[in-house]
Subunit: 423 residues, 2 copies
Amino acid sequence: MVPHLLTALKGPLQDLEQRILDATPQIERWFRLEWQEHTPAFYCSVDLRNAAFKLAPVDTSLFPVGFNHLSAPMLPLAQQAAMAAIEKYCPDARNLLLIPDLSRINGCYGQNILRLAALLRQTGLNVRFGSFDPTITAPTPIDVADGQALMLEPLVRNGRRLGLRDFDPCTIVLNDDLSDGLPDILQDVYEQTLLPPLHAGWAVRRRSQHLAAYLDVAKKFGKAFDIDPWLINPVFARCGPVDLRESADRARLTSAVETVLKQMRSKYREYGVADTPYAVIKPEAGADGRGMVMVRDVARLPALIDQLAAGGRHRDLVVQEGVPTIETMEGGTAEPIVYMIDRYVIGGYYRVNAERGRDENLIAPGLRFVPLPFATSCNMPDCSAGPEHAQNRFYAYGVVARLAMLASAIELERTDPDQSLYG
Amino acid sequence: MVPHLLTALKGPLQDLEQRILDATPQIERWFRLEWQEHTPAFYCSVDLRNAAFKLAPVDTSLFPVGFNHLSAPMLPLAQQAAMAAIEKYCPDARNLLLIPDLSRINGCYGQNILRLAALLRQTGLNVRFGSFDPTITAPTPIDVADGQALMLEPLVRNGRRLGLRDFDPCTIVLNDDLSDGLPDILQDVYEQTLLPPLHAGWAVRRRSQHLAAYLDVAKKFGKAFDIDPWLINPVFARCGPVDLRESADRARLTSAVETVLKQMRSKYREYGVADTPYAVIKPEAGADGRGMVMVRDVARLPALIDQLAAGGRHRDLVVQEGVPTIETMEGGTAEPIVYMIDRYVIGGYYRVNAERGRDENLIAPGLRFVPLPFATSCNMPDCSAGPEHAQNRFYAYGVVARLAMLASAIELERTDPDQSLYG
């Protein structure tokens, strides 16, 4: 179920990873039964951090970018998974409309879109690119890096259906995270399948709802496999909407940070972790990496809040446990990102930054991407015990990433504006 | 949909292969629609031959062996496909019973069984091994090559259910081709899913029924994509049960050979093929490679029939067009075998024999197996035109192999003893 990939971390498996590996058949069946109850989002990527003492997701993107960073051997897995997904939503699909994020279409992100389109085409679909941006009023050729190009066409609404001129899609795949709001033209699309649904966009989605769903999943998984949920779950505290110039609101944020740090200190003591805990203040909405603040020392919090307020005083915030990474690659600090389509792990790569520390955000100048290679020196996924087991480390990563995927499925059920669908 | 594998043949794509590659999205959709009408067998392997002027399946096994010859990077694809299959038959499956061919369990075939069991375990199943052989009356440890072992247990019938002592499976996977007949204990299993069904076994299956179904598929595919069906279909003629010492029966066999050779000569002329056509006399039942006779010259047929009769005068025979292979690998003649689980191509390898010619059966002393490697020098499946396109050769192989898989699905519908299932 999980590609056998080599991770950067070469040492023997930690206790948690070993327990996950040992329980493989039970875990796979557990997921199989969960997917009978919950429908995974069309696609998803999960940023993970392996801190040795814990292995946890730190961000779950429902509009994954970076398909171009997956190695070529991963494509068939991605295609197979996409095929399974498409068959579920629209078995006789012929046309698929892909809506990219126009603001990032040149360069690296554009390559991601081309890769995504290529694999969707390989599943037997005509793929065209649409935009709701008002500047796109006619088919517009867009130059993407390396001499590649794509044709972006204006969306056309034909009564209840959404498409392009002369192009009526069965399925519409969004790769714009809708941080800037829900375009009218995308609303009330009922006859076609919009993947993921509109309320997965950051115009509606709230990070704490995902974290709450993930906590529930981590508890259920922990109970089933006798694993302390904290070992796979970052503590969080919702702060809510604040005016960072108001002292009551600043106190509320401080209190959320202290709640997180207090729980972390208690767990660090329980597991004998010598590190200094740190919390991360994140916006409730918006892709990870933007507007995040790390808090190592509460005494420094007032200054950090002032810094944050300089970028806008009205915020909606959540505080999350910071999970350090022990992984390094080519001299840089590294964190894996795991990709899924439907309920399948299809691959992953490392975000590497030589200029950042193990407890910092790697999305910063100096960032590089390194695809995870297939393991080839081992013929069986459950090869002999001992340090060689490190080759199966990625299996544990795939399990934790799928827990986050499952959490996002539950999150989308809970936040669906048409609750009647879920009784 | 098809792993991007490197084939032995390095030259530019032939016209047929190029046309298949160019029509990829349409072909994938064609298959998607066909799989709505027909259910693929659980698994399947197809021997192909690329003769440059044609690319055709020469044998379709519904009890594939050789999973151990697939390279390790193929396992995740196999697991993903097995997961999709298991979910279809028994979504809450916990236990799976695998029935290997006891007569071959030591050595290479045993490794195949261990590999198959490993990938089924990875889909979240408890896998145990059962045998209907009367010599297996208690759990019996079996030594497989390389120090690996498996425990073979006697099958137990509990009323309507089939299992092992203390093991009640939801799904039963057969990897014994039942050449020696249908064991009573496997009959009338209705509550559990037997994969593939009993009538896929050589005790019931007839090669000409598969070839007839394949011809229908080849014609339909050929019509959809403007391809002469002969380019993907080996001509065949049913001979039927014969007594090889009876002159009337010998004449019937000779006539079948002449029918095949005549059609081949006409097609060879049409396409300007300079080779000398040859026909292959095959038994109607039984795995390919056993009891096959190549006929290059009808004048030699009486002697060949005498030779064949020496191994048993009563035969049930079919005559098939011989397809030469132009592929070579490491100095040997090579033919690809493509593996599928459910409707997914999961990989392949080459059968290589340095002691055999391009128009001979490679299953003979000198046989070796070479896994197909993933293509890595090309980032996109439909990379730039020119000779590099040869990297996509395996795509065409996967298409033709899936046509054979589809034919076997139709064959199993037509030969199902419980026709009512198919209206």
